[in-house]
């Protein structure tokens, strides 16, 4: 049976620099996978390819058995939620920032209101509902961008360093929301992080990416207790020089 999300020989170059090198990976439904690795090894590029913000030079991504070559970018993006490292909020209230995602999908007003309020509660934003999103702190804005991506119950949730530079309070709210969403709704989630402690806290599986290649990919306990590759061990111990 085909995997939920399958990456088959994905390669990508920027100029002469190879970012991803014939990368293969498969993700199961309901997975919460952390992709870890040093900066500049292709983690963000990989997420952008999965969200079809970029196309690979070669290789194929298949989502629920359908190759991307047979799907339009728009069709894929409607089914996937993406949270970027630096949040961008629109010049509107917190409520409307989140509601836009449902309006794009033609959700009726009563259902829209209930779903937005529910997700705002999950991310502890309900008291800020009417506030202009432009006046929020960085952590609050990142929670809004997560709410915006989660509110339409995406079939796949992608997060690119969503808690980088955030304070522990905001990190905790975001991690709790991600785990609850994965547990309750079985939302398949891929989070890119360079924080191995975060990976250990929230992920079910961990993938280690180095120089565009997948070095290690296993269940979280196995990843940390018995890494398959010496480079993984070196990265976990913090000995890796890069």
């Amino acid at each position: 049976m085909a995997s939920y999300l399958e990456l088959d020989g994905i390669s990508k170059k920027y100029g002469d620099k190879a970012i991803l090198r014939k990368l293969n990976a498969a993700f199961d439904e309901g997975d919460l996978v952390a992709i870890v690795g040093p900066s500049g090894v292709g983690k963000t590029t990989l997420l952008r390819i999965i969200d079809r913000l970029e196309e690979p030079d070669s290789g194929e991504v298949s989502f629920r058995g359908e190759p991307y070559s047979r799907l339009s970018a728009k069709a894929v993006q409607k089914r996937i939620g993406m949270v970027f490292q630096n949040p961008v909020v629109f010049n509107a209230s917190v409520f409307n920032n989140v509601a836009y995602s449902l309006r794009f999908r033609g959700v009726a007003s009563e259902e829209l209101k209930n779903r937005v309020l529910s997700i705002l509660r999950l991310l502890k934003l309900d008291s800020l509902s009417e506030r202009s999103a432009l006046t929020l702190s960085g952590g609050e804005a990142q929670r809004v961008s997560l709410a915006r991506a989660m509110v339409y119950s995406p079939e796949l949730l992608l997060l690119d360093e969503p808690t980088a530079n955030l304070d522990p309070h905001n990190v905790s709210i975001i991690e709790d929301a991600l785990m609850e969403c994965n547990r309750e709704n079985r939302t398949t989630t891929i989070i890119v992080t360079h924080n191995i402690f975060q990976a250990k806290r929230i992920a079910k599986k961990v993938a280690f990416l180095l120089d565009g290649e997948l070095i290690d990919y296993s269940a979280v306990e196995e990843f940390f207790s018995s890494p398959k590759d010496p480079r993984t061990t070196s990265f976990i111990k913090g000995d890796m020089v890069y």
């Binding site: 993006q77 089914r79 993406m82 970027f84 961008v88 010049n91 836009y100 794009f104 960085g138 961008s145």
Partner: protein, 238 residues
């Protein structure tokens, strides 16, 4: 009578004319407002979406079109007047419309002036938006129309500037409406063309009164739109 006394006397008489509600001055003022407000609205209705499309789409010749629009922002009104005159005159291709020397001809001429202003400023404002805004909308699966509406909303301060600039250009120009309107008394006399006429006739009181009204309109409209801008402006902390 000395130079300054002459000016002050003219100014006082002008104020009397304005406060008395002189029907001629009222007619001229209303026509000017009708022509310039309509031309600004038409320029914005066509110019803003065109500017948005030019800014958002990548196509061959985009730089050339942007340069042409930017150049057209400084079109000499008298040249626009000449071209519209030739188009609408009885021997021109649109002569059958019989619009020459009508307020409609004046609106057409001023719309030709306001369109590139609205379009050019929109191109510049939309192109300077944070590219992450567009990418966020794409990743959220926003349909094209929603994407356009949200990006225009994000550009609203700049769009208000476009409208202020277009209206300022329209209400203060004289060359285009003089050529296609003809400055016919009670019919196509606008504030600027009338100021010229009454100055040439030596009726400085009326000319000064019209000048004061023109300045007041320009100031009032700009004040209104600036207040609108201030209300839209929220300190960005993100």
């Amino acid at each position: 009578m000395g130079g300054f006394e002459f000016l002050i006397d003219g100014f006082l008489k002008a104020l009397q004319l304005i406060s008395s509600g002189d029907p001629l001055i009222a007619t001229i003022t209303l026509l000017s407002l009708r022509v310039s407000v309509t031309a600004t609205l038409l320029g914005a209705i066509f110019g803003i979406p065109t500017g948005f499309l030019i800014a958002r789409k990548d196509f061959i010749g985009k730089s050339m079109i942007t340069t042409v629009v930017n150049t057209a922002m400084g079109l000499p009104p008298v040249v626009v007047g000449l071209v519209i005159y030739l188009m609408l005159s009885s021997f021109g291709p649109l002569g059958f419309l019989k619009l020459l020397y009508t307020p409609e001809a004046m609106i057409i001429a001023q719309t030709v002036l306001t369109f590139p202003i609205a379009c050019g400023i929109t191109i510049s404002v939309v192109m300077s938006l944070n590219p992450k805004l567009k990418e966020t909308l794409v990743s959220l699966g926003a349909p094209g129309i929603w994407e356009a509406l949200i990006l225009l909303n994000e550009s609203r301060l700049g769009l208000i500037t476009a409208i202020i600039t277009a209206f300022g250009g329209a209400i203060s120009e004289v060359g285009a409406i003089m050529m296609v309107g003809g400055n016919l008394g009670g019919f196509t006399q606008a504030l600027t063309t009338s100021i010229m006429l009454y100055t040439n006739m030596g009726d400085f009181d009326t000319a000064i009164a019209l000048g004061i009204i023109l300045l007041m309109i320009a100031f009032g409209v700009n004040l209104f739109l600036t207040l609108l801008q201030s209300r839209s402006k929220i300190k960005r902390t993100v």
